[in-house]
Symmetry: C2
Subunit: 332 residues, 2 copies
Amino acid sequence: MENPVLAEVTRGNVVESRHRGAAIVVDADGAVVFATGDIERPVFPRSAVKALQALPLLESGAADRYGLTEAEIALAVSSHSGEPLHAETSLAMLRKAGREAACLECGAHWPSNEAAARALARSGAEPSALNNNCSGKHAGFVCLSCALDEDPAGYVKAGHPVQQAVRGALETVTGAAHAAERMGTDGCSIPTYAVPLSALALGFARFGTGRGFGPERAKAAARIRAAAAAHPFMVAGTGRFDTRLMGLLGARAFTKTGAEGVYCAALPELGYGIALKCDDGAGRASEVALGALIARFLPMDEATQAAFAPLRQAVLKNWNGIEVGRVRAPQD
Amino acid sequence: MENPVLAEVTRGNVVESRHRGAAIVVDADGAVVFATGDIERPVFPRSAVKALQALPLLESGAADRYGLTEAEIALAVSSHSGEPLHAETSLAMLRKAGREAACLECGAHWPSNEAAARALARSGAEPSALNNNCSGKHAGFVCLSCALDEDPAGYVKAGHPVQQAVRGALETVTGAAHAAERMGTDGCSIPTYAVPLSALALGFARFGTGRGFGPERAKAAARIRAAAAAHPFMVAGTGRFDTRLMGLLGARAFTKTGAEGVYCAALPELGYGIALKCDDGAGRASEVALGALIARFLPMDEATQAAFAPLRQAVLKNWNGIEVGRVRAPQD
């Protein structure tokens, strides 16, 4: 049972590397529009489901209670690059709930944005948890915890009311059991549960349309989608795939990367949800695989197609800026 | 024709990601000791053949003419982390040939060693070509060019006498044609030629034993192996796989990583050469796959086995330092 090649990497006239994986596109009733590879094997969605994990933040009224802005809601579903605006916005969210950076439990790491990391080093400072790519999501967890009148301490643990609410939302939206025996610990220390790509795609078809949701959840999903479309920088960062893609397509596509080669997306006007994983965990492959799928299904005018081209085929340059190869879907 | 899984990545109780590839172990007569996957498909060896690319530097007499030290010879076969000692040693090599950093044609990039990169940023400086992971190899190319009384300018081009000498050595040692139609441009701008893993393994079996080499080439290979064994830091850098492995095993193993998931190695006492490539280009997978192969064939006492364990199974920790998974060969 072998998964097909989702992306290949060329150098000169030779295919240098190959990335296998599985992908599925479904509508909000769960009808399969497209599928390739083993779409029933459980995979950890990692950060690709942050938008679903943020539903309780809005449904609970926490976002309104603390007056979170649209940009802050976008940051709550982000894997950001740790640029100054990301870190400042995370801190602003925490302060609206009367908290400080010290209550973040995601751990610290250097900004993934090179320029931001260099600038931080030049300033003589060390990175804080605010620079962690998950700090916006965690700030949202802290806001949710405070709105629930729960002590945020330990909010990353599976037994904390915040993670129970998150797990409940994930189970209802995807329709998949989130089983303790398929639980792993994510990079930012919260639980991540392995579920089939088919369930993730269905969850994102529902997220993109509100179909099957009650009115509060449908409204929450629509607010998150609108926030990401209006603030794509907040969802990722300078030069990042999600930021470029949503910057180009706006509300026509909601996309979110996850570690280890996962991507989830919604195409609201088509009612489609998409989920894919590259077996080997490569982000470069999951990006072009998602780009190729979106280009296949979403109608685009010529100008949009041209602007979209680098999102379905990435040019590889060497240290002298010479083009040495490409990352592309095999059919591209 | 599917390659097998060479390494898998776990999270909790779940296999999160899988890396396929091919691997071969041969003796210096070309007899196959072990093989898995498609070992005849041409692959770019990238930096994994730097030791073979450095043979002309020694055979030509250039290394002796400029009085290159053993540490400098080790740096000439390195993919280093751009730490200060690496950069300084590259510059020292160039100056022995009467040249400066400006003649390097590899391009500049930030040190891959995080601490070195932060320190450079804190100092307000920008990286130079000396920090490029290939600067030692390129300094060797410049020395070779000068010893041949050739202008080093353009030494990265396929038609330059330096690259012709390098290509000649690669063809003779591996026994594989290095064809123009299978030429790509490497990260550091020199040509790289796609050849089968079987030929690369044979080349490293010969490199490890001198079998089939004339006396000058055999002596050059022995000097390179001794240099790497004595100066493993020069071949890679702080915490890097090749540095740790050769630091532990000394002259019992010569190993060299290449970009896009390639590894080449020699086990001189067994007369074996090893070559492998992970299809998807992942270095984390090529490392544990090589570690597992070496552990399978090279006898080790109990203490060495214990010290070697992290080289065949890597622990993955998250931003809070919590162990979340492992990278390991499937049989481990």
